[in-house]
Amino acid sequence: MKRWMPFEWIAASRFLLEGRLQTLFIIGGVAIGVGVIVFMAGMLSSLEANFIRRVLTSQPHIQLVVPDQVARPLRNGGGVIEDATIQRPAQRIIPMNQWPKIRDQMLAMPGITGVSPTLSGSALVARGEANRAINLVGVDPATYFGIVPIPDYIVAGEARLTSEDIIIGTELAKTLGATVGDKLGVSVVSGRNRVLTIAGIVDLGNKGTNLRNTYVALRTAQSLEGMIGGVTTIDLTVADVWDAEIIAQQIAAMTDIEADSWIATNAQFYSGIKAQIMGNTMIRVFVALSVAFGIAAVLVVSVIQRSREIGILRAMGTSRGQILRVFLIQGGLLGFLGSLFGALMGAAGIIEYHAYTMQPDGTELFPLVLDRWLFIDTALLATLTGLLAALAPAVRAARLDPVVAIRG
């Protein structure tokens, strides 16, 4: 017996060790349950990370845009509306009012980790006979690359943006038959045009984005759009991507700027993730229930098997509370030990699955995400489940009449 262990722990561990086979089976059962939880949760986290990576590769967490222009109803001198029919005006690109002030506000706001003013507009790009409508994004590389890590997705050339450079997507490069160093003619609706050199070709993981998005220096875009010193949007990153919508609402409330979070702009994807989380939670609940019933069944049998020993313990001065704790500890230990093996099984399963499921090009299908909190939470959940499952048998053991128990 260990000197540092209190009586209840000694008795609980010995009872479990004595019923070795029974203990092994139930730990095995708990381990399988926990393994399923870890595997499912790990898969979900990995898939979530994969979706988020794909969705947020080419877009900021929050984008501040100039609110839509609206037409005011015509009123007479007394404030009475004379003509209630309002035609929605065509939206033209206008600069964001007081954008440096808004940028500074954003920089000071908690939860926001990156701020980058940009200018977005439509343009036409031409190379020889080929031409394409594009979305021209003028960015400050120093801040923007912290929000959309374009250098990480460069497949040819480099992420260089001087006033003469343009970065285009792989699909556009294919359509135009262009490569790094080639010249492209870029013109906007107002008639302004520039000849820019392809500095890099980027693959943002989305065909449409790779065909449409092009990146130039902010000053180049301002010059082309005739909006010197102006920006149309401010892109933000936040510390926790799941807080993006809340922060966006806070920003909208404190400024007269429209704030669109990635959650709002990808509502369908977000609800899909939510459904997955809900499904995963349900699986956890049912697995935890089956684990709880398994532990409870084993301990109920143990109480019956050990009723005489419980009686002897009671006769030698063991209190009801001590008996209660002996069985609660057994439940907790079964849950905890099962969770340790289960966590190992689940982690091994997901690592193996991750290694087995590759894309045709040999790259990983999804990033492997094994958060240590998943293991800590699962161990706590299993231990708590074990304790709760042991409650009824433990109360039964503690309430045993020693006379009846000794008689067997």
Binding site: M1, K2, R3, W4, M5, P6, F7, I10, R14, F15, L17, E18, R308, E309, I312, L313, R314, A315, M316, G317, T318, S319, R320, Q322, P402, V403, I406, G408
Partner: protein, 227 residues
């Protein structure tokens, strides 16, 4: 004058109280056990011996009457207080399955001390070893209880009953499951402890020969003590 170790006054015990099947199994039991007493409790099966033993051992409560341990009236004590009093003043030796099989002989003897003090200490281990040596089990003290012979198990049970230096040891057929030689040996051990430690013993037995070797014999017949 010191209080007797045990005093029963008009103790009655009934079961199924208030129901048609109500039955009184003990009627007005008066009994006094002084320090050093070595008493045999005899009686036919169903006479109420075990019920009386359970009441004396504070495992059960009388329906009426009073029970004093070392002069302390136990009627008003809570379950926790009774458990504490039982642990500190009464030792038990049962007939069957006396030891906890998951533990060694030494650990079984350490158990009452561990229950009382929570953590194992060198003093507890030393006491358990000394008690087992006293009952002649020093060579098998680390064997699991289930690997001991019946006689060895009863000896270990005697050592365990003495672990808390109780004033009273209750032995329910301590030799009933043993061969004659082992039974005699265990009985002599109880007698020796009684002489050396002045511990009071109340032994339930059907064995008339053993009972005759006790200082006193009390017979229970139909729930009454026969003179």
């Amino acid at each position: 004058m010191a209080s007797p170790v045990l005093r029963l006054e008009k103790v009655c015990k009934s079961y199924n109280i208030g129901q048609p099947s109500e039955v009184e199994v003990l009627h007005d039991i008066d009994l006094i056990l002084e320090r050093d007493d070595f008493l045999a409790l005899m009686g036919p099966s169903g006479s109420g011996k075990s019920t009386l033993l359970n009441i004396i051992g504070l495992l059960d409560r009388p329906t009426s009457g009073r029970l004093f341990i070392n002069g302390q009236d136990t009627a008003a004590l809570s379950d926790a207080e009774l458990t504490h009093l039982r642990g500190h003043t009464i030792g038990f030796v049962f007939q069957y399955h006396n030891l906890i099989s998951a533990f060694s002989a030494r650990e079984n003897v350490e158990m009452p001390l561990l229950v009382d003090r929570t953590f194992l200490s060198p003093a507890i281990t030393a006491r358990a070893s000394a008690l087992l040596a006293r009952v002649g089990l020093e060579r098998v003290m680390n064997n699991l209880a289930m690997n001991l012979s019946g006689g060895q198990q009863q000896r270990a049970a005697v050592a365990r009953a003495l672990a808390m230096s109780p004033d009273l040891v209750l032995a329910d057929e301590p030799t009933g499951n043993l061969d004659t030689k082992s039974a005699d040996s265990v009985f002599e051990l109880l007698r020796e402890v009684n002489r050396d430690s002045h511990t009071t013993f109340l032994i339930v037995t059907h064995n008339v020969d053993l009972a005759r070797r006790c200082d006193r014999i009390v017979e229970v017949v139909d729930g009454r003590i026969e003179a």
